[in-house]
Subunit: 128 residues, 2 copies
DNA sequence: GGCGTAGTTTGACAGATACCGTACTACGGC
DNA sequence: GCCGTAGTACGGTATCTGTCAAACTACGCC
């Protein structure tokens, strides 16, 4: 049984100022209910689906969302704090990526089943 | 492509009064975000896990919860309205069951992966 | 340095939510 | 009919949540 690190993760570019550091929950602190809640919002589900389909990290503005920039900031923050994504500043942008490895290790199959469910839902909505 | 029924489902014992009828969303009206939200609450997740583990329907009070009866009523209602469970009155009680068939048809694998994730989380919390 | 852009902070708002307590309804058994 | 129990409606509370607007910070480019 491997004990997972319990220290919060911080991402920051080299030589970054404090305002450019982003705290993330350690894997051991990621809670299923927080993850499910983060994924239960339509806007955030759109973000996660986009990240899942991308070959690389995406900036916040790479994903068109039907809300303002400040609300976008809020949503990405929820995802980060729930442990669903990592974020790191790069220049004026912020790169986002799914914490696939962590999520798959903690909750095997969950992320993929949610993504598949979202695809199914979108298909159903699209054809109605 | 089979079009699913769009009419809300109503459960009621034979010859029941209106107050004993319970409306449920039709399968086509079940939304992934509503399901995920319903499952994202610790109390409701406890209910769902108990229902999943039971061989038969359970009454509301069969599942010990750390909240009052009125809050219990609220939680079961959220689950029903999200399409996660069915409820039907039987005498003074209300029988609850997971809508496994509907959920598996709409979102294949989702319920099982959430249940497995909840098991994993509980194991982790139990051993910490 | 100025400018434009990505993203943030702050405050506000309206609505939702989990929770409780109280009084109530409906039922089943005696 | 009475009693006990399962569950509900209602009102209230405190908190949360998604959203916006406005002002702001940080960066990269010229």
């Amino acid at each position: 049984m491997v004990r997972m690190t319990a220290r919060p993760l911080v991402t920051a570019p080299a030589g970054a100022a404090p305002g450019r550091m982003l705290a993330h929950p350690a894997p051991a602190d990621i809670r299923l209910t927080d993850v499910l809640h983060a994924l239960s919002d339509p806007v955030r589900l759109t973000v996660v689906r986009a990240l899942a389909g991308a070959r690389t990290e995406l900036t916040c503005s790479d994903v068109p969302l039907p809300v303002t920039k400040s609300t976008t900031t809020h949503h990405y923050r929820v995802l980060r704090e729930a442990g669903v994504i990592t974020q790191i500043y790069r220049g004026t942008s912020k790169m986002n990526a799914l914490r696939r490895d962590d999520l798959d290790r903690l909750f095997p199959g969950l992320l993929d089943s949610v993504l598949a469910a979202a695809d199914a839902q979108a298909r159903r909505m699209g054809e109605r």
